[in-house]
Symmetry: C2
Subunit: 197 residues, 2 copies
Amino acid sequence: MSPVELPAVRARLDVDERRRQLVELGTRLFSSRTYDDVSIDEVARNAGISKGLLYHYFPTKRDFYVATVREAARQLMDRTKAPEQMDSLERLRTGLDAFLSYVAEHSVAYQGLLQSGIGVDAEVAGIIDEVRQRFCARLIEGLEVHGDLAKLALRGWVGFVEAASLGWVASRDRVPSEAVRDMLMQVALKIVKSYST
Amino acid sequence: MSPVELPAVRARLDVDERRRQLVELGTRLFSSRTYDDVSIDEVARNAGISKGLLYHYFPTKRDFYVATVREAARQLMDRTKAPEQMDSLERLRTGLDAFLSYVAEHSVAYQGLLQSGIGVDAEVAGIIDEVRQRFCARLIEGLEVHGDLAKLALRGWVGFVEAASLGWVASRDRVPSEAVRDMLMQVALKIVKSYST
């Protein structure tokens, strides 16, 4: 890289950095409040910029929201990544522990993302599906699972994890996360046992 | 009832009957196409009434959609009801078969309902949660399941059923519904075995 930064390059970096900061602010705001409860006015106020400038970065509230969903997906995949040297059971356990702690921290956003609204947003649905697939592929890495029915069972298991986690968020003063994690593991192992070749 | 129907009563019946017909038309339209793909113009044209009259029955497209979701929920509960005299295993099997055939028939609506959009609609989310609870309560009737963790496991199982069914809709030329039903039963029985007292 040149020691003298060109103004255009610096401007570009500034834009990227500002976008990143705004998305980070958004993930925090949407973590504890729903889409409808967070206004663009509030985002701009919190960011210390004008609404006009915010719209320069994100043309609509939806665009801003989708960017925060994308960032949340990235964070989730990052946090649930278990060290390479672990064996598959340890990776599954570590991944589920990290998943449950992420869900507990971002419970409102997580509920909002999975609860039903009116209509579907293809981009949001696509991000969620991609996370499901990658999360699932990573957790069963090293376990032998083959065939259409086994794939459906794994897809089912991801639904199990999501639904049980949502239920747990509402009752986590009574149920320790370790108990939920063990239950999720047991169901996963049962599936792997039934469908591994 | 009086043999001579009062005009006001007849008018009320007409309104109810017309609403019912419109909702039935809506469940058919949304069965194979998404919320965004179905226009109010098209609904009115199909029903042979003016848009103005349609708005008289349902002030907004959202209201119309919510009414069809409510009707779909009623149909689903109705169709998946197994005869009283069956034992619990047979009821579970019959209920799941009926559920899978319902999902196959209404696959687009079902996918649209469970895929994510922007924000949450409290009424739609409420209808779905009620169906989940009633469906689950009915399927495990007669099986002994107690405690917080068991409840989470059952909630997880409903998520498993939904996710596996959604996956199956996309691959049902390769996987017979009986195989999926057996898998769903096995997971349910595993849970009941682990948590029954």
